[in-house]
């Protein structure tokens, strides 16, 4: 089957498959075998209990809000970083990656303290009656942080490549600035923008550490789906924990499939 006479196929392929099986596939298959201990109706009652449904809604809803917020914030930051020159631009550009590198527990800890009623930001929000910790808003804010780099980083190269020629052409033909943006610029960056938003969404859906620090984990209100799994786990209900985990896993597969399709469409659109 080898294309060339390079040695090592059996060794490297054997090691790869063994590693994959032992570390990933066999442990993951335990989700299926463990949750199959539940009867069909028990399975359904577990994964679709009011508490679990509320948690799914928050997980996906807050991630969606954060991704949309990042669509706007990320577009603005990418635009400023590509089109403007200002002192400290390189520094700002490298700061964008902080959420990629900062451990999630640190993000949760510092966001919790910033937005607490006496924190640097919370002290301005709390007189207005805005609860920015132990609330759904808190979840949205911290998810916006963890997924911030995606939109900026997917838009930057597209904006760089775009140049200003087509905009200038549109304007010389008498288009207003808004018309130029809507009809010339926006359609060409839309695929990248959507891809960035989708990546941010996927990242936010998978986030756990920072959220549990700021959300307060109140059942039916600020509990995200992984916390429901933790609850079953702490009660030694391994079968129920696996059932909910299985639902999350299937959802994230579906999501990643969707993102791949979107990314492929976006790349085709660019060429």
């Amino acid at each position: 089957m080898t294309r060339r006479n390079i040695p090592g196929f059996k060794t490297t392929m054997g090691a790869t498959l063994a590693w994959l099986a032992l570390l990933v596939l066999i442990p993951l298959s335990r989700l299926v075998t463990t949750s199959s201990g539940l009867s069909g109706s028990d399975f359904w009652k577990t994964v679709w209990s009011p508490q679990a449904v509320a948690a799914y809604e928050l997980t996906f809803g807050a991630a969606f809000v954060a991704a949309l917020a990042n669509g706007a914030i990320g577009l603005l930051i990418a635009w400023v970083l590509v089109r403007y020159s200002f002192p400290g631009k390189n520094l700002v550009n490298s700061l964008i990656d902080i959420p990629f590198a900062l451990p999630t527990a640190v993000a949760g800890l510092t966001y919790g303290s910033l937005y607490a009623p006496h924190g640097w930001i919370g002290r301005f929000l709390s007189p207005l009656g805005i609860e920015a910790v132990h609330s759904r808003l808190a979840v949205c804010i911290v998810l916006t942080f963890v997924s911030l780099p995606f939109v900026v980083r997917t838009l930057q190269p597209v904006l760089e490549d775009l140049g200003t020629e087509s905009e200038e052409a549109a304007q010389s033909l008498g288009a207003s600035r808004w018309q130029t943006f809507r009809h010339v610029l926006f359609p060409s960056i839309l695929p990248a923008l959507l891809t960035g938003i989708a990546l941010a969404f996927a990242r936010a859906v998978g986030e756990y550490g920072s959220v549990v620090f700021v959300s307060g984990n109140i059942p039916m209100k600020t509990q995200i789906a992984p916390v429901v799994i933790m609850g079953h786990l702490e009660a030694f209900e391994f079968d129920r924990a696996s059932a909910v985990a299985l639902v999350l896993l299937v959802a994230s597969f579906a999501m990643n499939g969707g993102i791949n399709v979107l990314a492929r469409w976006s790349r085709r659109h660019e060429r």
Partner: protein, 283 residues
């Protein structure tokens, strides 16, 4: 501010200021807050929190776990890249997506699967228990969960580099009588080293910062199975806020070092890829 945007000056300043406001509020203030709170009791308070016995153990455990996870995933990543890029076989796409699988598993689920595999109510778990081998709630469990969440990093970075460099030089060396290992060490490795290093950095950064998966398998025994992230959480819940922020500040420094090293390596990696593309015999 003389960029390529001919909007009126006030619009440009408005955009710039709003963007910078988001950068400050979302990125800079959280980082600054960590430092200010960590030094809330002065340098003395910082040093005594950072040199606390249990905190030092958490630093040691985190570093050791990350190094082991890096070692495992580097060997795996290079082997997998070799198998995938040097040969044609059926099911290649499937194999690549299986390697990426851990990326789509939620952190808590990543820990859960090892609890399900090694828990005492499983056959394997009870066998291990009777032979006094502890996996869960001990270092091996933490290593397994960490290795799982960082599984794809090295492979993902090395594969495109190996693909771009091609196999002609290896074939030439083999024809001239070099052994497989000689070829790997002297031809392949120098070509892919920046890709490997880049993957190692991503893997290490994620390994040291992992929280969810580790929190499920660690058992959180103070001074024994607490990693730095778990220590942050425990100190915070014990209302030792300044100490929690001290440990957090160590992780923050680590993040900045990661970003700096990553930028340097990224630059070299891009150069190496460009060089590979220029090589006439590469394609």
């Amino acid at each position: 501010m003389n960029g390529r945007d001919d909007a009126p000056a006030w619009v440009r300043y408005l955009f710039l200021l709003t963007a910078m406001a988001f950068v400050v509020v979302l990125l800079l203030l959280p980082a600054l807050n960590v430092l200010v709170q960590a030094f809330a009791k002065g340098l003395g308070g910082y040093v005594s929190a950072a040199t606390d016995k249990d905190t030092l153990h958490a630093v040691f455990l985190t570093t050791a776990v990350a190094l082991i996870a890096i070692a495992i995933n580097t060997v795996f990543g290079v082997a997998a890249s070799w198998a995938i890029t040097k040969y044609e076989f059926w099911g290649k796409t499937l194999l690549v997506s299986l390697i990426d699988l851990p990326f789509s598993v939620s952190p808590v689920v990543s820990g859960l699967i090892y609890v399900l595999t090694f828990g005492v109510d499983t056959a394997l778990g009870s066998w291990l228990d009777t032979h006094n081998i502890q996996i869960l709630y001990a270092a091996p469990g933490i290593i397994l969960a960490t290795t799982f969440v960082t599984f794809p990093f090295v492979a993902r970075e090395v594969m495109p580099v190996m693909e771009a460099v091609g196999s002609d030089q290896e074939e030439a060396a083999l024809t001239l009588g070099a052994s497989g290992w000689q070829t790997f060490w002297q031809i392949t490795l120098p070509d892919i080293k920046w890709g490997v290093l880049y993957g190692v950095i991503l893997c290490g950064s994620r390994a040291m910062g992992e929280y969810g998966a580790v929190s499920v398998v660690s058992g959180r025994i103070t001074g024994k199975t607490d990693t730095m992230s778990l220590r942050v959480e425990k100190l915070y819940q014990e209302y030792q806020t300044q100490a929690a922020f001290t440990v957090a500040s160590l992780l923050l420094f680590l993040a900045f070092v990661t970003l700096a090293v990553k930028a340097a390596v990224e630059w070299r990696l891009r150069r190496a890829l460009a060089e590979a593309a220029r090589r006439p015999e590469a394609r």
